[in-house]
């Protein structure tokens, strides 16, 4: 399904900031980020551990954990704000309109219930199916995500499944109500390449056939390369580069993005040490002034330590880095 240019994107995040009030001051974990995803589109979100990817996803589905809170910004689904809805209203949207695959598969699974019971209950909450039909649908879903002998294993408990099988049950749960938007946080990390290919094929099919939109958070650039239409790269709570997938991977502009591409273990380059970006991402209470990447950046210069770069268009990408901003005053 082709996205229409005049209608609003399925999901739009405008200037979102997320903060944690603490005794020693407020920590800003996500700082003024904007994203959008069209119908049928896959947005890949990558970035350093702790960059704020999961928090952004959790904010969209209305599950920020206390004391985290949205400090400013708006989240719109089909042009309607959802960030200010009540818990009850949001609960109805979750599952039916937005499906979530959490980074931690166990948080979505109840260890005391069998796999089939959890699936059947989720399906019944969000659809009109009766128990029998819900059961059939549960089985269908488990087969779609590649659980072998699904029929015999419906009555298993989560701990009786392998790590990758649990992850697939969580994916099945997220797909249960055929939501329009799926937020998938590291959905394939525990999966071998073959099952991974199967899950990705399943997601892509949903996008193409039903216009489902996906926000795919993953550190696996291989998965991004074959799945995403566009990519957003996050660092220290901000989007530092975004653009079409081929352009971000092959023509990265931001020094962090280039470093990220260089750290990928590669079968073609011997078994020497992996290239690493030295240093660590700053703590939330010590985010450097100016460009947050400046202490680790090989190309750092004076201005980077003083002023914060905003996203500007460079070729097909948008990049937040002073290297590409020749004017003296910066863009406002």
């Amino acid at each position: 399904m082709a996205p229409q240019n005049d209608s609003p994107p399925l999901l739009e995040v405008r200037n979102l900031s997320i903060e944690f009030p603490t005794r020693r001051g407020t920590l800003v974990a996500v700082d003024d980020i904007s994203l959008h995803i069209d119908q049928g589109e896959v947005l890949g979100v990558v970035g350093e551990s702790g960059a704020g990817k999961s928090l952004t996803g959790n904010a969209i589905i209305g599950l920020l954990e206390h004391p985290g809170r949205i400090a400013s910004g708006e989240i719109l689904l089909n042009g309607k704000r959802i960030d200010n809805l009540s818990y009850e209203q949001m609960r109805r949207i979750r599952g039916r309109d937005i499906g979530a695959v959490f980074q931690d598969p166990l948080t979505s699974l109840n260890p005391l219930y069998t796999v089939s019971r959890q699936l059947v209950e989720t399906i019944k909450v969000h659809t009109d199916l009766d128990t029998g039909a819900a059961r059939a649908r549960a089985l269908e879903l488990l087969e779609a995500v590649g659980i072998p002998a699904a029929k015999e294993r419906l009555s298993s408990y989560p701990h009786e499944f392998s790590g990758g099988m649990r992850q697939r049950v969580v994916i099945a749960l997220a797909l249960a109500a055929e939501p329009r938007l799926i937020i998938a946080d590291e959905p394939t990390t525990a999966l071998d390449v073959s099952i991974q290919a199967q899950i990705i094929a399943l997601l892509k099919r949903l996008c193409a056939e039903r216009g489902t939109a996906v926000m795919l958070v993953t550190h696996d650039m291989g998965v991004i390369a074959e799945t995403a239409d566009r990519v957003a790269v996050m660092y220290a709570g901000r989007v530092v580069e975004t653009g079409p997938v081929a352009s971000v991977i092959q023509n990265a502009h931001h020094p962090y993005t280039s470093g990220l591409m260089g750290s990928i273990p590669h079968m073609k380059h011997g078994v020497n040490r992996l290239t690493q970006i030295d240093g660590a991402m700053p703590r939330l209470n010590a985010i450097p002034q100016g460009c947050a990447f400046n202490p680790r950046c090989e190309k750092v210069f004076d201005r980077c330590r003083k002023e914060r770069p905003e996203l500007i268009s460079i070729e097909q990408n948008e990049v937040a880095c002073w290297l590409y901003q020749s004017d003296v005053g910066g863009v406002s």
Partner: protein, 348 residues
């Protein structure tokens, strides 16, 4: 993260550290008794690990790879004593730790550690990170509480790229990748000689992953640590391993030096595995998932369990189970390889 490793046992012996022979672990996954009576359903046994035999060389890394559900974590859990094997023998440093009837596991428990596949489930949510990391040190009475313990925990946190300040927080205050690093710090805390890493970096972004993998190799070079490494990411396996064992439906089907394995895997399943690796060169190109039915571990195919998906299967494959045989300096369980019907595919 500091470059200089601060931990590790002083150990330079060579030879086999862990010897596993005919390891079996079965699970009873039968429906509840009542259902079995009323629905006439039979008892069902799932052979998660069936007859696995392999050695892990001291100071080296053996990686286990294979499809999700093939039994990798179950092997790992048997080795660290979290599952009692249904059968087989495990020797650690020439001490028989598990064989029928005997169990000397307590003698070696403190010499091994495991990094779990699911970092969330393995960190106690009510403990501060400091105590989580200090737990193995306290449990084995390695350092008395006090300044030395504090210094050691801070050293470990630093090693994995966290700070002393982070020790005061609870696990839920960290992102997924940060939590994984906490579990790595905890695993290193007791100076283990043998470390089992079950998907240790799958929750990490590539840049932190590179740091952790480089660190693990440094520790190995410096202190002769031995690793059993489980990962579905074959490019990570390529970087980390001295040898590679491939599992399929609870059995080891190929085990060889990593260099040879990646140069040209023997077993048809290994060959397919290497073909399905995602690559940055394939933007927008979907990989073909492995063809054929996903095998049912409750009633594995007869003969070679891989035969329904194998392009080289013949009648013998369908009836006779191949056993591991020496081929070109490695081991493979495949009739086709034995009969010279299958040539190595040239990888890379």
């Amino acid at each position: 993260m500091s470059d200089a490793p601060v931990i590790g046992p002083a150990m330079t012996k060579s030879g086999t550290l862990m010897r596993v022979e005919g390891l079996k672990r079965y699970f009873d996954v039968s429906p509840p008794l009542l259902n079995r009576w009323f629905e006439g359903r039979p008892r069902q046994i799932l052979k998660a690990v069936d007859d696995a035999t392999f050695d892990v060389e001291r100071g080296k890394t053996l990686s286990l790879v294979g499809e999700s559900g093939c039994g990798k974590s179950t092997v790992a859990r048997c080795l660290v004593g979290l599952h009692k094997p249904t059968g087989g023998k495990i020797e650690f440093d020439d001490i028989v730790v598990t064989a029928s009837g005997t169990d000397h596991f307590a003698q070696v428990r403190h010499r091994m550690q495991m990094i779990f596949q699911d970092p969330f489930a393995s960190l106690n949510p009510r403990w501060r990170v400091f105590n989580i990391v200090a737990e193995p040190i306290r449990a084995f009475g390695l350092i008395d509480a006090g300044v030395a313990l504090t210094r050691r925990v801070h050293e470990l946190l630093d090693l994995v790229g966290l700070t002393a300040e982070d020790g005061k927080k609870y696990p839920h205050e960290f992102s997924g990748g940060q939590r994984q690093r906490i579990s790595i710090a905890r695993a290193l805390a007791s100076n283990p000689e043998f470390l089992i890493c079950d998907e240790p970096t799958s929750a990490l972004d590539v840049s932190v992953q590179a740091q952790i993998l480089n660190l693990m190799r440094d520790l190995q070079d410096e202190f002769g640590l031995t690793y059993l490494f489980i990962s579905h990411d074959l490019s990570v396996v390529y970087h980390m391993s001295d040898s590679v064992g491939v599992m399929y439906l609870g059995r080891i089907v190929e085990i060889r030096s990593a260099a040879e394995f990646f140069a040209g895997p023997l077993h048809p399943y290994s060959q397919l595995l290497l073909e399905t690796i995602p690559s940055l060169e394939n933007i927008g190109v979907a990989r073909a998932p492995l063809a054929g039915e996903v095998p049912n571990p409750l009633s594995p195919p007869t003969g070679c369990a891989f035969h329904p998906r194998c392009p080289f299967a013949n009648d013998r494959c369908r009836s006779e189970r191949p056993s591991l045989r020496e081929v070109n300096g490695g081991l493979a369980a495949c009739h086709g390889v034995e009969e010279n019907r299958i040539s190595e595919t040239q990888q890379l």
